[in-house]
Amino acid sequence: QGGEATGLDSVQVALVPGGPHPYFQPWIAAGEAAKTDFGLGGTTFNETAAWDQTKQNDVINSLVANGYNAFGVFGVSPTDINSTFDNLKQSGIATAALGSCPAGDTNDADFCLSTDTETAAYKAAQATIEAMGGTGVLAHLTGVNVDSNTQRRIAGVKKAVDETNGAVTLLPDVTDIDTDLTTAQKAVADLLASQGSEITGIVSTAYNPAVAAATAVKESGLPIKLVAIDDDETILAAIEDGSVYATIAQNPTAQAYVGSYALAKLASKECTMAEPGAIIDSGSFVVTKDNVATYDDERVAAGDQLMKDFDSEYLSC
């Protein structure tokens, strides 16, 4: 592709989440911050994809037509998003997979900056098992079964359970209940009604089931340890009041902030990737009642470290 290096102010970064979801909300502020801190030409946040790959592609294409030349995308369909990245790269546009890496072994974006989904689920399951005292019956609540990210989460939970050598039994995964709050609440209530007396721990790797389970467990009065994922305010409040034992926070702020920075460097042709398609972990953090007030500092520090790593390691300028 080549071409002259231009200033960062010529770079327009578009952050495209998979759809409306609390997880992505920090991206908005992070994008704004990146714009002022690095003097970018502009950033935008567009969540109109509504969890549909075709619509996401449409949104991305429209943004290209409107002059955006760097894209941080949470691919709706991990199996298909590589095609989208290919398409963008053919027009010389800088791309990053943020928050979720393409499925399979290849990443056609310039880089992927994401929590390792499997690791996060693994950590969440480990935290639950620890809270359960290393033994008992664990239930796993999650989202769309046929999504490859869900498969990774299922694998992560299974790995943690396997490591207990049979001390913990895992009930069949309760999938496809993230569509809406009613479905989640109903599924959780039915689960507690039929198996509540046996279950000692619940790990939820999706948003709505986590919200539903927090209330349901508290109301049922059952001694069930609940671990959630992500740090939406509802869940943090639940950790503070003790109805949720822990949550695994990811680092969406760093994904958007550092991602925008790296994208700008790539788009302005100042730098290239040292290793194109690199997969970079943005870190995950176990949040319990003890560190609920302080974990954010930890996360900011991780973000700063990530920034440095990009400059020193991932980018070659």
Binding site: D58, L63, S77, P78, T79, D80, N82, S83, N145, V146
Partner: protein
């Protein structure tokens, strides 16, 4: 002849056409980037092509007065069969697509057969079928694929889904980048469906079955067979739409078709096809789909947020459709008769259908 032209000018189709032209003109005036071939027009036309096939899949069952709630799931099923053919059996492009179409056709035929056999309302049977497929498809994907997707692509797969005529070069000249290759098979399908309904006996028998099953039965039309046929066609077209969608997004996943159901009704009904059966319009379906997708694309280009997008989409749809009504009220000098004064069946809108059906 003059009156024939006049009649054409008062159809909902013509009105749709005018609305679309005006909309496009407005969008282009405000956002010249709408004319960007590779990133706006080509994707837009690709979507129109795919969703027109989806609309046709619904239209063929609407023609007999039925509905297919399972269009999306049939699309997913047909695409899955194609995916399996490519991924597990390594079939070439055409054979794999054919397998998918056959798969969709079989599911459609089964649905039609159940409806014809039991006499149960098509809404219920297709609803039940959608549930059954909703169960079946993901199960098969999890069993047969890694990561719940079939990713093996035979030669020509990407070309069908993503190439535009810019990639088709003859004697050193290449076509416009704004027109995707996919329009070719879609136009062929549209013409075939239009010919079926305007020119052939079977097509007319479908329409008459839709007009009144009883009268059709009493005229010696094999209504059961026509019902099975309509649903089979619907299955085939749905599968085709699913496969085309897969080629455009890049792989076969169980979520193919999730968005089809509502759109499949919108296109035909906007275009004048009757929910009650007996009248269809292929061009109308194309225009109906085009209208909604152009609105969407325009709003996207203005970068409106998801909340505004939905609100505006709905409002524009309502206004566009009411325009027809306003014209009609003016014709009737302001008198509004009661809802059911016109014929008892519920024409989607007071479509003027005194001219011979279906324009090809």
């Amino acid at each position: 002849m003059r009156s024939a032209i006049r009649a054409q000018l008062t159809t909902p189709r013509f009105l749709l056409f005018v609305i679309i032209v005006v909309l496009v003109a407005v969008i282009v005036a405000l956002k010249p980037s709408f004319l960007n071939g590779a990133f706006v027009l080509a994707p837009l036309i690709t979507s129109i092509a795919i969703f027109t096939v989806v609309g046709l899949a619904q239209m063929v069952v609407l023609s007999i007065g039925h509905m297919n709630i399972a269009v999306g799931n049939m699309a997913a099923f047909g695409a899955m069969i194609s995916g399996i053919s490519f991924d597990l059996f390594g079939l070439p492009l055409v054979a794999g697509i054919a397998a998918g179409l056959v798969g969709g056709g079989l599911i459609g035929a089964l649905t039609g057969w159940i409806i014809a056999r039991t006499g149960v309302n098509s809404f219920i049977v297709t609803l039940a079928m959608s549930f059954a497929l909703l169960g079946l498809v993901p199960t098969v994907y999890s069993a047969l694929s890694t990561g719940s997707a079939f990713v093996v692509k035979p030669a020509g797969f990407d070309a069908l889904g993503r190439d535009s005529f810019a990639d088709v070069c003859q004697f050193g000249y290449c076509g416009p980048a704004a027109i995707p290759v996919m329009v070719v098979p879609v136009i062929v399908v549209m013409v075939l469906v239009a010919v079926l309904y305007t020119k052939t006996r079977v097509g007319r028998e479908l329409l008459l079955t839709g007009s009144s099953v009883k009268a059709a039965e009493f005229s010696g039309i094999p209504t059961s067979r026509r019902i099975v046929l309509a649903h089979t066609l619907s299955g085939v077209l749905a599968a085709l739409a699913g496969i085309l969608l897969a080629t455009s997004i890049g792989s076969f996943t169980p979520s193919i078709g999730d968005e089809f159901m509502l759109q499949s009704f919108v296109g035909p009904i906007l275009g004048g096809t009757l929910l009650a059966g007996g009248y269809v319009s292929v061009t109308g379906t194309l225009l109906g789909i085009t209208l909604t997708l152009v609105i969407r694309k325009g709003l996207e280009l203005f970068g409106v947020g998801i909340e505004t997008l939905n609100v505006l989409l709905g409002v524009i749809l309502l206004i566009a459709l009411s325009a027809d009504r306003v014209r009609e009220i003016r014709l009737r000098k302001g008198r509004t008769p009661d809802a059911s004064a016109p014929p008892p069946s519920d024409p989607a809108r007071s479509a003027d259908r005194s001219t011979e059906e279906v324009p090809a």
